[in-house]
């Protein structure tokens, strides 16, 4: 599970974005984003809906092509011409807000599909590894259930296991608790805390400020496609420098979410 080449230090670079820009028609969603993520680092992206958090994550695993700029994963430029996107995506796990499990497959099949069809593992090997992961995340008894028989929290945990089954170097989490009932949020966040503890490199778009505060090594505040402010969570949440960051956090506090 540990990212490849892990040596416990924060020196190796997992991800680097250089001047990444992205527009949908006339709408500039990302404007010259620069971001560096070290191995084992946990970055939280915060900001209002529409600030570009989700698009940024989708650009990192090439689900959305970037218009300008370059993205490097483990030192390799993935935005270069002729790069095999399927190979790149194997190393980057993404979990979506809406789970996006495959409804026609059992939990176990959901998890073994990519290892079998992409990594060409045997069914037996894929199932053994999947069972190990399911055991760790408390879902082993659900392995033969179909997704619609699971609670939202269980579905999201299954989606996390599905991404982990590919042994990714980086995990991207796109507001993974936003579609959950409040009482189910904790079980999913605890899974992510567990991943942070074992050193998984993660970029997390989230509205859970309390969670961001205690899991992130660094917090980036996005506003209208720009990283307006970034820094240690204590600094961002206690003494934000930018007026817009202060305004955003003020609204969050008023809504009782921090």
């Amino acid at each position: 599970m540990l990212p490849s080449g892990s040596n416990g230090s924060h020196n190796a670079q997992a991800l680097r974005l250089e001047d990444v820009s992205k527009s949908f028609g006339d709408l500039e969603v990302l404007r010259a984003i620069n971001l560096e993520v070290a191995d084992h680092e946990v970055i939280c992206l915060i900001g209002a809906s529409g600030s570009g958090k989700s698009t940024l994550l989708k650009c990192i695993n090439l689900l959305e092509p970037v218009d300008k700029g370059r993205i490097f994963v483990e030192g390799e430029e993935i935005t270069a011409e002729g790069v095999n996107v399927n190979r790149i995506r194997r190393h980057i796990g993404i979990v979506f807000q809406a789970f996006n499990l495959f409804p026609h497959m059992t939990v176990l099949r959901n998890i073994t599909l990519a290892p079998m069809k992409v990594l060409n593992l045997s069914r037996k090997q894929a199932e053994t590894e999947a069972a190990d992961l399911l055991q760790r995340f408390g879902l082993l008894d659900k392995k033969d259930e179909y997704p619609d028989r699971l609670s939202g929290g269980q579905q999201q945990r299954a989606a996390i296991v599905r991404a982990l089954a590919m042994n990714p170097d980086i995990m991207l989490l796109d507001e993974i608790t936003s579609a959950l009932d409040p009482e189910l949020v904790a079980e999913v966040l605890n899974v992510i805390r567990g991943l942070a503890e074992i050193g998984m490199t993660m970029v997390i778009a989230t509205h859970e400020m309390g969670f961001a505060k205690d899991i992130a090594n660094r917090v980036c505040f996005l506003d209208a496609g720009v990283i307006l402010e970034e820094g240690a969570p204590e600094q961002i949440f206690s003494e934000p420098q930018n007026a817009r960051t202060r305004g955003f956090l003020q609204r969050i506090i008023e809504a009782g979410r921090l």
């Binding site: 695993n61 995506r89 194997r90 796990g93 996006n100 495959f102 026609h104 599909l113 590919m166």
Partner: protein
Amino acid sequence: MIQPSSAPAPTPGIPELPIPPARRRMLRTEKRGLVIAAGSSIVVLGILSAVALLSPGSSEVKEAFFSAHHLKGAAFGTAKTASVIAAFFSVTVRMFLLAEVLVLALALFLAVVRSLPGPVFFPFRVLAIVYIDFFRGIPLLLLMFIVGFGLPGMQLGTLSRQSQFVYGVIALTLVYSAYVAEVYRAGIESIHESQTAAARALGLSRWKALRYVVLPQAIRRVVPPLLNDFIGLQKDTALVAAIGLVEVVRTAQAYGTTFFNFAGFTVAAGLFIVITIPLARVTDWLIAREQRKTRAAAGFR
């Protein structure tokens, strides 16, 4: 049943009700509904039978289409004519079973080709669209003539030396694969793109995402409309009579010209109905199940 303490204590003077009034009202309504349905059915059936029996020529109709003697003769064959039932199963059923398999495969291929993304596949997409537009637009009877009389006359080697049975299957397959391809395509497009995104994000190629994630869901979703098209296909099998193949309709017709009686058509019609009804019920059942599932998935348990 013992009511919880919240129920009012029986007051003297007011008789205790064994069944709550609301429930009793419902039972009464239900019973009244049954009585009305039965009464109305009797009246309607009575009127219909009266019209059928009293109308001029009703005895002639009875003799021409429903004579027991002729029904039996047409169904099982006589010294002079073949059995309509035998013709139905040996030719017609064999034909539509074969055509259905071919249609399923060819239509899926067409739908997949039509859904292929990217500029490289542009000519293939266009070809699939042209095929679908073309064969959906031609009346099946016309295509039967074109294939059944055209191909043998063109001296195209093996293609021109096939039996009428084969030409019938070819015509049915050409037309119905165009229809069914559109059914498949509707299914493919109904699968939300987030499913493809999830598959691609795991490193599956476009093709593998289609093969393992989109198609299985799409096909499940279109089974009811597919079965509906098959009911149409089964009936249209009768059109091969037009290119001279001796099948169920022709056999029934032969009975009619031999004995001046239409019982053969009655038997043939009965056979088609008998074979489509189970399929229609299965379709209904599948649709109902799909609706239940969709509702369950949407949270209305």
